[in-house]
Each structure stands twice: as C-alpha cells, then as structure tokens.
Amino acid sequence: MKVGLFIPCYIDQFYPKVAIATLNLLEKVGCEVSYPLQQTCCGQPMANSGFEHLTGGCNENFVRNFADYEYIVSPSGSCTLHIKHHLHSVNEEVAKGIRSRVYELTEFLTDILHVSALNATFPYKVGLHQSCHGQRGLGLAQMSELVAPPFSKPVQLLNLVNGLELVQLDRRDECCGFGGTFCVTEEAVSVKMGKDRVADHLRHGVNYITGVDVSCLMHMEGILKRANSTVQVKHIAEILTATL
C-alpha cells in the first residue's frame, strides 16, 4: 500500500522523533511510505486565526506534494481535519480527491489496515489525551456529549501494546487548551486549561501522557516541565513502536 507521509510543520521542526516513529510504524505494518520533500504546513494556523484567505499558497503546495498518493497519512488529528475540511485548489477536483484520501494515523491503522496485532511493549501507566479535533472532528472516538455506544480508535491500538496500563481520567475528553494561536492570544485560559488537564492525569498516577496530536502534547509538556514533573509525553506512534 503506497502512502504519502504528511508531517506537520511543527513536528518536522521540533519533534522529528514522532515523524520517525510514524514512518517506522507504517513500514512495520507493511506500507510503502514516501515523504514528499517539498511539504511545509497545512495552513491551519492562518485559517483558525481568521485568515483562510491567505492559505492559497499552502494549499497549492500541499496539492503539488500529495496529489499522486493513494493514501495520505499524518500523525496529527488537527492538521488532518484541516486538510479534510478546508483544502481547496485551483484544481478543485484534485483537492477533493485529497480531502477524501487523507487519514490521521490511528484511523488509518484501524479502519484501512485493520491492524489487530503490534509487536510493541510499553510497561507503564499511560493517560490518553483525546484531542478534540481528532475525536469530535474526525470521529476517532465517541464523545461524552452524545448518547451513543463508546469506542476509541487510539484506545483500540493502545490495547495491543504489551504491559501498557491505560488509566481512566475523570474528564475523559476535556480540551487541553492548546487551540493553535489560542495558546498565546488567550494565554491565561489556555494555561489554566492545560494545568487542569495535566492534573487529571497526575491524579491517576500516570508515567506518560499520550495522544494523537503533538500540539496538545507540546502544550502539556511545557506545563509539566515548568512544574518540574517527571511525567513525560509521548505521541501514540512512539508508544505503538516501543520495544524493551
């Protein structure tokens, strides 16, 4: 299966280990993965700030990089959602095709590849942060607001990891407060939300906080480090490829 790897800009620049883990994971489950070298950003920072009209250049660049792939996979629910909902192009047919073929990593593993076994071991207590764009936007997991049976694609995968103990949080799908540029324009609320989100994990004695969005994890990592906590964050791809 040919996959175009879409690595969001901040992962490329600050968390290359997450991108490497994603690449390894996809190859491990049998995909032929290419990373188009001229990719930059999905355009979400501008669009969520009200400047979607400035994202034309980013869109065309995205289209140039990914038009030819059967599947486009990304280790970020938020960026995937942005492409799925807001990618447009002068060649709208091509953009439409890309919008229908872009997948967040965990949904690709569960829905397309139907992964049922992983040779991974991670013997720690882990808290899962359900990032909002992935959960509510892409439908990666059932949300607590709806009256419907529960499911979670990230949990389904984490349950395949040997030794991993997933904790139950008090608020299982509360936003962490990152929110893109919200984290700086609304610093007070953003930080308070992050502190509260982290506190829920700490109350349940986690060793690691994981999630499908590095942006949320980066925010919580910043708060954990400032508090000199020993709890670490790891993107789900790093845990799904972990060995002893």
Binding site: R171, V184, V191, K225
Partner: protein, 459 residues
C-alpha cells in the same frame, strides 16, 4: 461597573484567573451541571433522535418565519392578547414603557428574560423613573449588586454563598456573615412576596410561542413568572421572533430537551402555558427583531437562531468555565453568545469568536444541533476579512503565509528558529513571549525530520 465587562475576552480572562481557587470552583460547579446533564440525557435512549427532531422543527421555523409569525399574531389577537412588533431594542423598551404608563404604574416585576438583558430594558426603565425588580432569585441577586447575569440559566453562578450573604446583608438587612442557604432564601422569599403582591404590571419572557394556538409557554424553576403574571393587572411577554414553533405538539420535543440540557432536570419545575388574559387582565406580547432578520439572512449563521437558551454550551465550554460569563461582555455569554454577538456589533464583539479552542463540545451538546464551533470558525473569517483584526496580526499572518507557502523559505526559517532556540534561548525565553510565561519551550532538535529523511536516503 465590573471591570471584566469593559475588557476584551483575553484581558478579562486574565482578571478572572487572578483568583485561581475561584476559577476552580466555577469550573467544577459548571462541570457538575454538565455531568448531571449527561446522566439525565442518558436516561432517554432516543435522545439523539429527539435532537434531530428539534433541529428539523427549527429548520422549518427558520424557513417559514414570516408565515408562522403572522399565524401566531392572528391567533394571539383572537385570544385577546395585544401584539406589538419591535424592530430593535430601543423600540422594544419604548413599547414596554408605554404599556406601563398606560396602566398608570411606576413599578414592574420581571421574570427572567435574556431578551430584556439584550435590549438593556432595566436601565431604560429605571432612567424613566420606573422601579424594576427581577424576581428570579439569581437575577435578583445580581440586580442588587448592579451586575448583569453571568450565565443565561444560572445568572449568579459566579457568586459564592458568602458573596450572596454579603449582598443580602447590604440590601435586605440579613445578618452579617450569614451563608446558610435556607436563611438567605427565606429572606429573599419574604422580599419577593411583597413585590409580587403589590406590583400591577408583570413582565415575563417567552420560551416557546405556538403559532397554531396563539399561546406561549414560560419555563421557570421558581414559579416566579406565574406569581408575577397571575397577580398583576397587566402581563407583558417579551419574545425574540425566533421563539415561535408551529404547533403545540412540538412542545413535547422541546420541553424534554430544554431542562435536561440546562440543568439535568427531566423538565422545568414550572412550564406555564399562557393563552389569553383572565377576565379584567391585559396581556401584551412584544415580538422583537433586533438583528434577528439580518442573522436569518446570513446562510452561514442563520441556524444560530435555533437556540432555545438552555446554556448547555456554556456549561460544557472549557473556556467559559475558566473565564467566567463577564469576559464575554454581552448579554448571552459562552459559545452561543460568541456567534450571536458579532451579528449585533461586529466591531465590539470581534474578540468573541476567538474565545474558543474550537474543541467542538458545544456543537455536540446542543439540543437543537447548532454547528456552533463551525460558526465560530466562519465568524473569524468574516471578521478578519472585514478588517476587525489588529493590524499587527494581519501583518504577522501575511508573513507566516509567505514563509509557509515556500518550501525553501520554510526550511530556512525552521533552521534559524531552531538555532535561535538552541543557542540563544534568552531571545524567546522571556516575559514578552506569552508561551514562555507559564510553560517551557519545546527542546529544539539539531535536525528536522526533513533533514533526517534526506540524510537517511543518502546513507
């Protein structure tokens, strides 16, 4: 005047967050209401179908607004209700003032109405020499304090028992330092009883106006709407025109949704049906536009008019819970207020659609399925294109777009940025960086993924 009300959302939130213990209390209290709502809706297996039914009924209403309002007016007049139309808040206030004057009254007892908050009725009437008393307990408390409500269902949720005790001590003469809810409630009860018994004109809101019957329904938990309206010679009901529903049978959908979404109750304690004035009584209804027809004409935003004012989106909103109602500086706070307020005044309320992480919880908790977070996103686009953003932001966004649409510039900027963080962290790790104030920066790696990938391939 509360300082928060005059600031934009982010600055008001800074004020609110100065007392972290109170923020925690506010958050936990509202989260408690949200979880109570979750338990109450889980008791209804067909909850999602009910939401869909409500949404469809409201779609029908929005598409047939003119006909339904005319039908409602005709039936209301036939019932003996006097119907008034107000184009805006000013006209709404003037009509109500005139009715009070015609009744020869100088006093008004009000039941809860967010529309009158939106139109600033209290201030208008008080300036004209009318004595106005809000009879909903929460509203009465904030009224004594000279504050607007901070929540559309729980108007005094920003106050603690001690705050209420102090307010009652000042205004009702209760013992100083008293916090016992029973004692304080009894004092309020005696005070309001006197009000109900003596006021000749009563005003209520309208939760649902039924086109088919010309009657309307008012929902309260305290029975204060009934106490006011039943004892007064004149009953004035104020309604935004979107409150109309086609038929009485639709109440079965909305009344099941409203209280569960609002407070987690199966139904409000009082759902009072008013159809015609009793013998010797006058009944007026004031139907208000105040920007609603403009909103109805905006395809992206029209279905914000489906709102039944349950406040579920406020309770679930992680931002509202941590910034408080006053930070929205608008009659309707929270996510729904943030999509209604820009319609009233784009310039004044340009900050509100940005007071959200777009987490989407509001849309999914909404009993009438308003796509609130998607409208927040769309308002952001409209407001920035209309030029209501700060110039610095526009310049920054243009620069960002230029860098991100060019792979070469992007890689160069990335390299420089990581280099700065690695070798001269002081340039970003300072008090001018709103990320760094309360969070550590991520540790920059020597190599981007792009560079690693290229090097790997060479190897």
């Amino acid at each position: 005047m509360n300082k928060q009300l005059t600031l934009d959302h982010a600055d008001a939130a800074v004020e609110f967050n100065k007392n972290e213990a109170k923020v925690d209390w506010h958050d936990e209290t509202l989260w408690f209401v949200r979880t109570k709502r979750d338990r109450a809706v889980a008791q209804i297996p067909e909850w999602e179908q009910l939401r869909e039914a409500a949404s469809q009924i409201k779609n029908h209403v929005l598409s047939n607004m003119h006909d339904l309002l005319i039908q409602f007016e005709q039936n209301a007049i036939r019932n003996g209700i006097k119907v008034h139309w107000a184009a805006d808040g000013e006209e709404h206030n003037a009509i109500i003032h005139q009715i009070i004057q015609q009744a020869g009254a100088t006093q008004l007892v009000k039941s809860k109405s967010m529309l009158t908050e939106e139109c600033h009725l209290n201030k208008y009437l008080i300036d004209k020499g009318i004595d106005v008393i809000d009879s909903d307990l929460g509203e009465r408390i904030v009224q004594m304090r000279g504050e607007p409500p901070s929540h559309i269902v729980l108007p005094a949720i920003h106050l603690t028992k001690a705050d209420v005790g102090e307010t009652f001590h000042q205004h009702l003469g209760t013992d100083k330092g008293a916090t016992d809810p029973q004692y304080l409630t009894e004092a309020a009860r005696q005070h309001l009883r006197e009000t109900f018994l003596t006021r000749k004109v009563a005003l209520t809101g309208v939760n649902f106006a039924i086109a088919e019957t010309g009657g309307f329904v008012v929902c309260t938990n305290e029975g204060n709407a009934d106490m006011g309206a039943h004892l007064a010679d004149v009953h004035i009901a104020a309604m935004g025109f979107e409150k109309v529903i086609p038929r009485a049978e639709h109440l079965g959908v909305f009344l099941r949704l409203l209280a569960r979404s609002a407070t987690g109750q199966p139904i409000t304690t009082f759902s009072s049906h008013f159809h015609r004035p009793r013998s010797g009584q006058e009944m007026h209804i004031v139907i208000v536009d105040n920007g609603r027809s403009r909103q109805l004409g905006r395809p992206d935003f029209r279905n914000s008019l489906k709102c039944i004012r349950c406040a579920a989106c406020l309770n679930t909103c992680p931002v509202y819970r941590r910034s408080g109602g006053f930070s929205y500086h608008s009659a309707v706070a929270g996510p729904i207020g943030s999509i209604l307020a820009p319609n009233l005044d784009m310039k004044q309320n340009a900050d509100l659609p940005f007071a959200s992480t777009l987490c989407g919880s509001c849309s999914n908790v909404c009993p009438v399925k308003i796509d609130i977070h998607e409208q927040l996103y769309k308002w952001r686009q409209v407001l920035m294109q209309e030029g209501y953003g700060p110039t610095t932001k526009t310049v920054a966004m243009k620069a960002m777009a230029t860098v991100l649409e060019s792979p070469r510039l992007y890689r160069m900027a990335g390299k420089v940025g990581r280099g700065v963080l690695r070798f001269a962290p002081i340039t970003v790790e300072n008090g001018l960086n709103p990320w760094y104030n309360q969070r550590d920066m991520p540790e920059p790696p020597a190599e981007s993924f792009h560079d690693w990938y290229v090097n790997q391939k060479k190897a």
